[in-house]
Amino acid sequence: MGDIKFMKGNEALAEAAIRAGMQGYFGYPITPQSEVVEYLALQEPKHDFVLVQAESEVASINMVYGAAGAGARTMTTTSSPGFSLMQEGMSYIACAELPCVVVNVVRGGPGLGTIQPGQGDYFQAVKGGGHGDYRLIVLAPNSVQEMADHTMLAFDLADQYRNPVLILSDGAIGQIMEKVELPDPVTTKIEKPWASTGKTPDRPRNVITSLYIKPEDMEQKNIELQAKYRKIEASEVRFEEYLLDDAEVVIMAYGVTSRICKKVVDLGREKGVKMGLLRPITLWPFPVERVAQLAAQERVRMFVTAEMNAGQMVEDVRLAANGRKPVYSTGRMGGILPTPEEILDFSLQHMK
C-alpha cells in the first residue's frame, strides 16, 4: 500500500509535483487553483524546491522559462484568465523547446467570467493558444488520483520531448477532495546538457532562444518541431474506454464531464440503449485513430460529445470521424455541470 491521503485535487497535484522532483515553482494566486500555491508555500521549508510568488502570470511563465532553461524541473499553475496572460510565454517556451509543466484549472469564461468549473479553454489548450505553430502535450485528469498521476507523467513527458506539458484540469477536479494514493518520490535526475548553466571549455555556449531571424532557419526550426509533434502523436495518445465493445452510441467527454458521462452510459444501458464512453486522457495528441475506427464500425450509430462549453472538442471528433457518422454536441456553459439526465435525454432524442 502506498501513501493514501484524503486531499483536494489541487493539493494532490502540488504534492505530486514535489515528489516528481520539481525544483522551481512560480505562480500567481487565482481561484480556483490557489490551493496549489498555498500548499507549496506550506511545504517549501521541508523540501528542496524554490517557490516564488510572481507579480503576474506574465512573470510566472517567464520565470518558468528561465528555470527550465537553467535545467530545472519547473511548474506554474493558474486558471483561465491567467492562462491567457501566459500565452506569449507558452509560445516562446514551445519554440525554445523547454521542458516544463503548466496547469490550467479551468473556470467558466470568457472574460473575467465565473470562478465555477469550466472547459471553455479546450481550443486554447490543444490548438496552440499563443502565436505561431506549436503544440502542447495536454493531459486531462478526471479525478484527484489523476491530478497526482498526471503531474508525475507530465514532468516525465516534458523532459522526454523537451516540450511544455499542460495539465488541463477544471474547478471541480481542483476543488474536490477524494482518496488519493500518492506516488513514490522520483530520485533520478535527468541530464540536460543543453541547459544554460555556465559555459565550460568542453562545449560550445548554450543559448536558449526562440529567435530565428532568417526565414530559412525559422522554417527549418518549424520542420524539426513538426517532426517532434508527429512523434508525440504516434507514441503518446492516451484514452480510457468504458463499455465500447458493443456500443451503438459513443459518448465522448474529458475531465469532470467524463465522470458524469460514465453515469450517462449506465443510465442509457438501463434503458436498453447500448452506450459506451470514449474518454481522451491526452487532448493533444487526440485519439484520432480510435475515433476513426469506431466511426468505421457499422454498429456505431453516432457520437455525442458532452463539454462544459459551447462545443469545442466536438470539432476534433468530427475531423476524426470524417463524415462517416454524425457527431452531436451537448453540454452546459457558464460554469454549470451538465446532469447525466440532460446528456442522456439529448442522446436519446438524436436516436429517433
Binding site: 516564488v52 517567464n62 522559462y65 528561465g66 528555470a67 532553461g69 516562446y92 544554460s196 555556465g198 559555459k199
Partner: protein, 250 residues
C-alpha cells in the same frame, strides 16, 4: 619576431570575433567589450548566464561567449530571477534596453528589484527604440523628435522620461545602482568599474545590482556618431545625471 611594437591591447577571449551588427558609433559594442573583459578578468566564463532582450542587443549571444537565454520583450528580469534562484552560485545578468526594461517590462523590473533578486541589470538607455526604427521610448527626452513623437515628446500627454536609477534605488532590495555613460574614455573606464562593482556585490549576495548606461543612437537620432556624443553630454546627461545612486550599507 621583433617588430618594435608592444602589444598593449587585444580582444578579450570571451568576446567572439563575429562581426557585430551594431551601427557605427553605437555604445552597445563598447559595453559588450567591457562585459567580456570583466568576465575574462574575473574568470567568470564558466559561471555566467546572461539574459538578452528584444531590442538592438537581441543578438548579444552572438558576441559574448557565455551561456545565454533569450527573453521575450520585457521579461528578462523574470528569466534572470528564475535562473539565479535555480543556480545561486552563478553570475547572472540581464542586458536590456529602455523599451524593454522601462516600458513593457517595468513590472518585472520593479518587482525583481523589490524582491532583491541577486542578479545584475545592465540597462542601456539611449532614449529611443533602436531596432524597431526610432520610436518614442519611456526615456525619450521632452521635446525630442521620434517617429511616434514627430513634433517632439510632449510631457503633457507622454509624461516625462522615466529615471530608472532614481526609481530602483528606492527599493530596499537594491544594493547598488549607478548611472554611467561611455561618451568619453574616462567614462568608459567608469562604466567598466561600475559593472565590476555590480558583479562583485552580486557575488557577495547583497541584493539587486543595477547599472544604467546612458547611451546613444546615431542612426535614429539622425546624426553622426560624433554629434551623438555631444547630444549625450548636452542633452541626456543633464536630465540623467551620472553617479552612484545606491551603495550597499557598510
Amino acid at each position: 619576431m621583433k617588430t618594435g611594437y608592444e602589444k598593449i591591447y587585444e580582444r578579450p577571449d570571451t568576446l567572439l570575433s563575429t562581426r557585430m551588427h551594431y551601427c557605427p558609433g553605437c555604445m552597445h559594442a563598447i559595453v559588450h567589450k567591457l562585459i567580456a573583459e570583466l568576465i575574462d578578468e574575473m574568470k567568470l566564463q564558466e559561471k555566467t548566464v546572461g539574459v538578452c532582450p528584444v531590442g538592438c542587443s537581441v543578438f548579444a549571444y552572438d558576441y559574448i561567449d557565455i551561456d545565454w537565454q533569450e527573453a521575450a520583450h520585457g521579461r528578462a528580469a523574470a528569466l534572470a530571477t528564475a535562473i539565479k534562484r535555480m543556480l545561486p552560485d552563478r553570475l547572472v545578468f540581464s542586458y536590456q534596453g529602455d523599451g524593454d526594461l522601462a516600458a513593457i517590462g517595468t513590472a518585472e523590473t520593479i518587482h525583481a528589484c523589490n524582491r532583491g533578486e541577486q542578479f545584475t541589470f545592465i540597462f542601456i538607455n539611449n532614449a529611443i527604440y533602436g531596432m524597431t526604427g526610432g520610436q518614442m521610448a519611456p526615456t525619450t527626452l521632452e521635446g525630442m523628435k521620434t517617429t511616434t513623437s514627430p513634433y517632439g515628446r510632449l510631457a503633457k500627454t507622454a509624461g516625462m522620461p522615466l529615471k530608472m536609477c532614481e526609481l530602483v534605488s528606492q527599493f530596499d532590495g537594491v544594493a547598488f545602482a549607478q548611472r554611467v555613460s561611455c561618451n568619453n574614455p574616462a567614462n568608459v573606464r567608469r562604466t567598466k568599474k561600475a559593472i565590476q562593482r555590480a558583479f562583485e556585490i552580486q557575488q557577495q549576495g547583497l541584493g539587486t545590482t543595477f547599472v544604467e548606461v546612458v547611451s546613444n543612437c546615431p542612426s535614429n537620432w539622425k546624426c553622426t556618431p560624433e554629434v551623438s556624443l555631444q547630444k549625450v553630454k548636452e542633452e541626456m546627461l543633464p536630465y540623467f545625471p551620472l553617479g552612484v545612486y545606491k551603495e550597499p550599507r557598510s
